[in-house]
Symmetry: D2
Subunit: 247 residues, 4 copies
Amino acid sequence: MRILLSNDDGYFAPGLAALAQALAPLADITVVAPERDRSGASNSLTLDRPLMLRQAPGGFYYVNGTPTDCVHLAVTGMLDHMPDMVISGINHGANMGDDTIYSGTVAAATEGYLLGIPSIAVSLANHNAQHFDTAARVVVELVQRIQAQPPAEAMLLNVNVPDRGWVELGGLRVTRLGKRHKAESVVKTTNPRGQIVYWVGAAGLAQDAGEGTDFHAIANGFVSITPLQMDLTRFSQMDSVNAWLKS
Amino acid sequence: MRILLSNDDGYFAPGLAALAQALAPLADITVVAPERDRSGASNSLTLDRPLMLRQAPGGFYYVNGTPTDCVHLAVTGMLDHMPDMVISGINHGANMGDDTIYSGTVAAATEGYLLGIPSIAVSLANHNAQHFDTAARVVVELVQRIQAQPPAEAMLLNVNVPDRGWVELGGLRVTRLGKRHKAESVVKTTNPRGQIVYWVGAAGLAQDAGEGTDFHAIANGFVSITPLQMDLTRFSQMDSVNAWLKS
Amino acid sequence: MRILLSNDDGYFAPGLAALAQALAPLADITVVAPERDRSGASNSLTLDRPLMLRQAPGGFYYVNGTPTDCVHLAVTGMLDHMPDMVISGINHGANMGDDTIYSGTVAAATEGYLLGIPSIAVSLANHNAQHFDTAARVVVELVQRIQAQPPAEAMLLNVNVPDRGWVELGGLRVTRLGKRHKAESVVKTTNPRGQIVYWVGAAGLAQDAGEGTDFHAIANGFVSITPLQMDLTRFSQMDSVNAWLKS
Amino acid sequence: MRILLSNDDGYFAPGLAALAQALAPLADITVVAPERDRSGASNSLTLDRPLMLRQAPGGFYYVNGTPTDCVHLAVTGMLDHMPDMVISGINHGANMGDDTIYSGTVAAATEGYLLGIPSIAVSLANHNAQHFDTAARVVVELVQRIQAQPPAEAMLLNVNVPDRGWVELGGLRVTRLGKRHKAESVVKTTNPRGQIVYWVGAAGLAQDAGEGTDFHAIANGFVSITPLQMDLTRFSQMDSVNAWLKS
């Protein structure tokens, strides 16, 4: 089995190293990740300049581009064989609810999925993430299950793992994405040149964090696994928009 | 009525100017757009540096950030009142099918929608886009309809307009997003320093362009209107993933 | 006469517009300037990606690169004829003393000079610069003098103009560069994500601002004109280094 | 003795590692280098965003900024004590003649010098640089000499080393900077989207490479040591400019 790994924190991130190390006994691993932290990159593709691919002493490849660029370049121009899976992470911090829209971690897995490859994004749900080994073991178990019993249908899974020891995990939950309250306002401040500048504020608190959501699973110590889809069509609204346009 | 305009081609783009001019008789218009071309930016948010807001001689504001940054900053930190609508475009080139995942034009409208504001992304479906006036008039008619008959439910509409004169338009079609074939491979080349570099290749050709899709509408001369949603949960797959995990 | 104009504040800057307007009656003017503010860019050249050249509605060209890139691209790839002069500015704020090392305004003129073209950098010496018309008139008079009486030797002139009305100017002074005290320390602060970040601090105050320096000329209401050279060899120290190495 | 190391190739570059390893027995070493390749950065300072300082597993610090930013931040905000020296390199490729104007390697040393610290820039004069150990040993010998016999005057030395084994070196030469012919023209090409783009071309060939220059020393197998100065005033031209203005 061949697995392509990427992330959005950069090729030097400890979460990526933990993932590569844990998966090495199970599969041929290739790592292609951004040369610098690209958190918040979403699915952005670099169109205005070419990408360079370099290799770090440990063997990881890095690209002067986004997470999406990394997977795109690896699959369509670098690897001799299509990988059997793309796994992105382990992200330093959760990617739940609306975060999935902005996340570079989810984007790297999304690019794999859009290129026809089963893909997993995995995040450790704590801003001071510690237990990368726990998250890595969750991925190992998922990959072993996929090897033993391949799913009938291609999957794009968004996995969030509580930041605690393996024995303290409550098990797996298949979840839907929750919703956050609106993000906090930008933070207006002044730089040392006296110019007004604005920082994008923190993400909003969970709004829909009820039973069945990723927020709820994590809050209760379970691993959250959300199957994602990438067709943004709002089918349920097509009739009403049609009626409204004709009214 | 107050309308916030943005785009991903930059504050100086002719499509944005055409839109602002056409809407000025209908509403109070504020333009906040990227300082440079950010095509392909997707929903990326700038987290590692603060943003600056400046005003061009014509009155348009521009930001050293992404389309998402522009709308986020305008709504959460700059405008005194919430806008009644966010409109993004008129993009130079189509945003159909899987393009919506990568598009900065769609992302600006998405950010408005996630902040609770009805939003429209509008694109002129030709790489050598000419008839911005046609697309602007489509938007004017949509806004007039919204003013006359507000929809019951918040909407995020992705509008693509054929690049032809107004009288040659075939009317409006409510569509689903089509699908593209996989993107073309990266283009491997050498820079003048003898280093190997890779350009992200062109988007794939339409794969699902059948009746009912945005591709089909545009190919037949109709304006395509696709209602979008931003919950990426694949609800239809939750049971099978659950079964697979427990098997 | 053909004059190439550039700057580091961006193609939309009022100082550049004032310069272009004032020089139009005297020469064929081409403007090639950065697409965004590149203050502090020094002589940096963009080597890791190609440059794009676009034209704004008013006719100015802009480049997604540094001031040095702009002049380099214009002279070596875009213009049909070598320009007779390169003029950079009018910068918003002074470029005196050690500032010349970091300045993008000076760098654009330097690139012209290194390509064999007499060049002038011009700056309006006030952070809230108002009298661009005064600085533009100073440049007009210099260009008229060059037209009437071409200098025997190629020149790279660094011109700083007091921010006051033309009639209040005290005349021209040929000056040497003064020296500044060390820059102020970086400003350590925390971003909204709780991360420590550092802003580069303000430039140091003038240390050598005595008679004959650019600082002294400006402080006394004179236009400061400093001829620059680009050979960084410290000839006066070659013997002592030689002796020290052999001791 | 405390030495601050930096470079422009990035904190992960083999030339920097070789330098740090060779100097460790002689001094307390702190490394603060750019997070990515910033070749060609010249003396550019980052003014529009704050810098972040992070530490790699091996202990090296890296900054999301230019070489100048790295030294500036280290000296004015991070280190408890002023370093006794700043050394920048070992650059992958020569920095001779006019290259010194554009070089990020030279710029890092320049920033140390402008902050009052004796500084050395060191480059291995081959685009396929191999003998970093040779260049590192040259630096070790210079540092030992400085420790044994401190120079009377602050120095900024630009050192270029032939890419060969230590025993094949011809000795040290104190040199002046040579001159290059004008750079080659930009390379005009087309990207995969059909847009015209321009790559900055290669540096010009040596024009003044005569006896006494850095080019000449390297071509003949000697280490080239050029003392640099940062006062750009062209004193020799002040009188003629004065006469010309008054004529």
